[in-house]
Structure formats: structure tokens, C-alpha cells
């Protein structure tokens, strides 16, 4: 019986509330006189303090475009054997350490990723001979991915280097490349590290280390890595004048140093 009474009262309140919606030709005062619940709500609403303006507003969300990245790289964080295929028992290709001889983190260009038996494997380009070598390593041996939007193309025939960002040319300069006896190797590589603040005019103010290696100067100190650097003999450029490195005028290498991040894929034609 008591539930029935509560139900009746509830229906009565709902009916009263439905009548609280004022007719278009009624004033608010008219509505208040005819409907006590609506008047009570109106009084409660007017007691609220004025709102604070939000300290910030969130702008329009922007979706990514996949074309924004041209490559990704990651540092080696544990000594690791890169192997032929994504299996723990695959043949080793080379052992990699977390740091380079120059004191930077040893980064590898990431080409892809796969999962085998619950374990993540990463396909990487290696800084070893023969040039262009790729291999696999466990994802756990690498640090966080970094992404780049740039690509450097070194054209040995035209003696020119061009940097592209998101597919658009943003830098181009004449270069010196290797002689016939010590050629600059062709292929797909990446920029491994950047050196600046050293005191050696032969290399200019900035030098990039790449994953490319001379196939003939294998006993060169440091392993015969191909660099991209400045010069103290700009009058020789453009030309086939180096031991395999890519030389630029100092003003050009400084500009490239500003534009090109480590991890940039490098194509030598």
C-alpha cells in the first residue's frame, strides 16, 4: 500500500514537472505562479556564482600523415649478436656494442619488425662490411625508436648531395667523392652520428659518420668508415678527390648540420 502511495506521488510530481515547461506566451513570472517546482529550480539556479574562464582551450586535433616519416632508428642498449633470421638459433652476423668508438650511442636503422613465438624481432641495417648488410636482433636489445623525415641522396656522377624532407628538396650542394683508387661506395646506408666542436681543419667544423665503409681502406683507423664532412681545401670541390668520404664546403656542411638529424637514411648513387 505504501509503495502504491509513493508511486502515485511520483506520477503526480512528473505530471507537475511536465507542466513546468512554460507556454510560449507565458512570462517566467506567470510560470512561477502556476508551478512551484519550476520556481524552486529557477531560484536555485540563480544562486550559482559566475563561471571562471578556462585557463586554456584545446586546439583542433591534427591527424598524422604517414608521409611524415622516412626512417626510424634505435640505439643498441645491450651488447647483442645480430643474426641472419628472426630466430634465437639463427647464425650470427656480427656482434654490436652499445657505444661507438666516437663515444655516441650505436644506432641502427630499423627496416621492419616481426613477432615469432611471442618475441619481437627487428630487421636492421648494419654498419658493417660488406656494405648494405642487414640482419635481425631482438627488440629488447634496442632502445626507443626515433623517427626522421629526411633522406640524403649523394649523386657520385653529378657530384652533388641533396637532402629531402618529406619528399621535398631542402638542401643541395656540390661535393667531393672518392678517387678511382678509393671510391665512395654505392648503396643504401644511414647517418650514424654527428661530430662537432673538434679541432681538425681537414674535416671542417662538422662531420657526420655514416654506416658506409670503404671496401679498400679496411685497415684505416676506426675501421674505414665513410664520413660526410667539411674541408680545408674547398677549391678541389666538386671533384673526385677524397679517400671515400663525402666532402663539402664548410658553409654547406654547417647548413647540413642544421638540417639533417642522425638516423637519416642515405642513398649513394
Amino acid at each position: 500500500m505504501r509503495r502504491f502511495a509513493v508511486g502515485v506521488a511520483l506520477v503526480a510530481v512528473l505530471v507537475a514537472a511536465s507542466k513546468a515547461i512554460p507556454e510560449p506566451d507565458l512570462t517566467a513570472a506567470d510560470a512561477d505562479r502556476t508551478n512551484a517546482p519550476a520556481a524552486s529550480l529557477r531560484r536555485a539556479a540563480t544562486g550559482v556564482p559566475p563561471p571562471a574562464s578556462p585557463a586554456f582551450s584545446v586546439g583542433e586535433p591534427r591527424l598524422l600523415e604517414h608521409a611524415e616519416t622516412t626512417g626510424r632508428y634505435a640505439p643498441v642498449v645491450n651488447p647483442v649478436a645480430a643474426v641472419e633470421s628472426p630466430r634465437p638459433d639463427a647464425d650470427p652476423v656480427v656482434s654490436l656494442l652499445p657505444t661507438t668508438d666516437e663515444g655516441t650511442d650505436n644506432v641502427v636503422l630499423v627496416l621492419g619488425e616481426t613477432r615469432r613465438k611471442g618475441r619481437s624481432w627487428v630487421h636492421v641495417r648494419l654498419p658493417v662490411l660488406p656494405n648494405g648488410r642487414t640482419a635481425w636482433m631482438p627488440r629488447s636489445a634496442l632502445g626507443g625508436y626515433r623517427f626522421v623525415r629526411t633522406r640524403l641522396v649523394v649523386d657520385r656522377a653529378r657530384l652533388r648531395a641533396t637532402l629531402f624532407e618529406a619528399g621535398r628538396s631542402v638542401f643541395s650542394a656540390p661535393i667531393g667523392v672518392g678517387t678511382a683508387a678509393a671510391p665512395t661506395p654505392a648503396g643504401e646506408f644511414y647517418v650514424r652520428l654527428k661530430l662537432a666542436g673538434f679541432d681538425n681543419p681537414f674535416y671542417g667544423p662538422v662531420a657526420f659518420g655514416t654506416s658506409a665503409r670503404s671496401a679498400v681502406l679496411t685497415d684505416w683507423p676506426g675501421g674505414g668508415y665513410i664520413g660526410i664532412h667539411g674541408t680545408n681545401a674547398p677549391e678541389l670541390l666538386p671533384g673526385r678527390v677524397s679517400h671515400g668520404c663525402v666532402r663539402m664546403r664548410n658553409e654547406d656542411i654547417v647548413e647540413l648540420g642544421r638540417l639533417m638529424p642522425v638516423g637519416t637514411p642515405l642513398t649513394i648513387l
Binding site: 585557463a55 584545446v58 663515444g103 632502445g143 654527428k194 679541432d199 684505416w220 638516423g263
Partner: protein, 241 residues
């Protein structure tokens, strides 16, 4: 092991993580607020030991409040900014890798765009008090369907809970007004992702807040925050020339 021992171990892990990335002491300040009582002292000592920065550095950092913001609000907003960096990075990396299913990438793209917008909004508010983004290593999560969705659900749920915890601790009504606009979006993210992966979008009539301490522990436990790769040096080149 007692609760305090577990908490201290978590604090120690967090201290080690933060010491790697805390270039200007901003995160020390945030972490000290996140661990306000006895463990706060432990954390501060650990951070000072690990990073070589002492209390003076923390106080100097605290004195640079943005115009119109209290030090307390700046510290809370900095914590939120790091969290937004972390979330934005998670979705952005997943999208860039493109290894997840099209269904998952469809919502990850939208949520990622929202999180990046949150980052920009918080940076704009903090001005020169901005915390620089740490580096992140998502350890394969961004290319693993199950791990990614679990991580996304955990972050969105906890972020919504964290904002509830922070809202009643903010000094400025204007910041509260802005924070609630983020809060409702984070709760929608949580419900959306939960629905997409087959979980109940809502599990209770009332949501509990989650403290900064709890969020800090979650971040530390993921080991997603790392040192940036060192790619520049000043040594003498030894290239072939």
C-alpha cells in the same frame, strides 16, 4: 614484503627513471609532490643522490611559477604534461609503425590526435615552465595488438582518475575549468577503447580518483621513460677523409 617496502622500491625505481631524464629538476619537484610524506623524503634524497641536484635546485625551480598560476598548479600541470607526452607518444608511434590492425589504428589515430592537442594546450599554459619531453621506449608495445590495447586502456582509465584527484587540489578555478574539459575527453577515450576491445565501458556508478603517486608508480613500472640516445659528440673524426 610490507606495503611500505613495496612503495619504497617503486619510489626507488621512479627516482632512477627520473634521474635519467630530469634535466632541469622539474620532475623532481613534481615527484616530491607525488610522494608527499615519508616516502617523499626518501624520493627526494634518492633523486638528489642520483642526479647530483640538491634541494636548492628544487626551490629555484619552484620559484618560476607562470604568471597567474600558483606553484602548486604549475607542479600539477607539469605532471599532466609529462603524462600527455607519454600518451601522445604511445599513439603516435603506433600510428607511424602501422603494425596494428586497421580497427585498432582507426581509434588510435583519433585518440593520438587528441593527446597531441592536449600537449600543445598544456605547453601553452605553462609557458617557460614547460617540462621538456623525455625520451620514450615503448618496448614493442606499439606493434603488439594486445599489449597496446591493454596499455591504452590502463593509461586512459588512470588519467581520468588522476584528473579527478588533481581537480580538488588545484588553486585556480580557471585551471579547474580547463582541466575538466580534458577530463571528460579522457573518460570518453577510456570508454571508447574499452568498448572497442570488448570490455565494459563503465564498471561502477561512481569513479574513484587515483593519486599522482599511483600514476607515477605506473609510469615507473612500464620503464617507458628512458634517456635520449646520445648521437652527437665532439671527438676527433677518424673517417677515411
Amino acid at each position: 614484503m610490507t606495503h611500505d617496502h613495496v612503495a619504497d622500491r617503486a619510489a626507488e625505481e621512479l627516482a632512477a627513471t627520473l634521474a635519467d631524464v630530469d634535466s632541469d629538476g622539474a620532475l623532481q619537484e613534481t615527484a616530491a609532490l607525488a610522494f608527499p610524506e615519508t616516502r617523499g623524503g626518501f624520493l627526494r634524497r634518492s633523486l638528489a643522490l642520483l642526479s647530483g641536484l640538491g634541494t636548492a635546485g628544487v626551490l629555484a625551480s619552484q620559484s618560476r611559477a607562470a604568471p597567474g598560476l600558483t606553484k602548486n598548479d604549475v607542479a600539477i600541470l607539469r605532471f599532466d604534461l609529462v603524462l600527455e607526452y607519454l600518451q601522445a607518444g604511445l599513439y603516435t608511434e603506433a600510428e607511424r609503425l602501422g603494425e596494428l590492425t586497421p580497427e585498432t589504428l582507426a581509434w588510435a589515430r583519433v585518440v593520438g590526435a587528441h593527446e597531441r592537442a592536449h600537449v600543445q594546450a598544456l605547453k601553452g599554459l605553462l609557458g617557460r615552465n614547460v617540462v621538456p619531453s623525455p625520451s620514450f621506449n615503448y618496448r614493442g608495445v606499439t606493434s603488439d595488438e594486445q599489449a597496446f590495447t591493454k596499455t591504452a586502456v590502463a593509461f586512459e582509465d588512470l588519467t581520468a582518475a588522476l584528473l579527478k584527484w588533481q581537480a580538488v587540489r588545484l588553486d585556480s578555478r580557471a585551471v579547474v575549468a580547463a582541466a575538466v574539459t580534458l577530463h571528460s575527453v579522457e573518460t570518453r577515450h577510456a570508454a571508447w577503447i574499452r568498448h572497442e576491445v570488448g570490455l565494459a565501458p563503465v564498471t561502477s556508478a561512481f569513479d574513484e580518483p587515483a593519486s599522482q603517486e599511483r600514476m607515477a608508480r605506473l609510469i615507473a613500472s612500464t620503464r617507458f621513460v628512458t634517456s635520449p640516445a646520445r648521437t652527437v659528440a665532439s671527438g676527433r673524426p677518424r673517417f677515411t677523409g
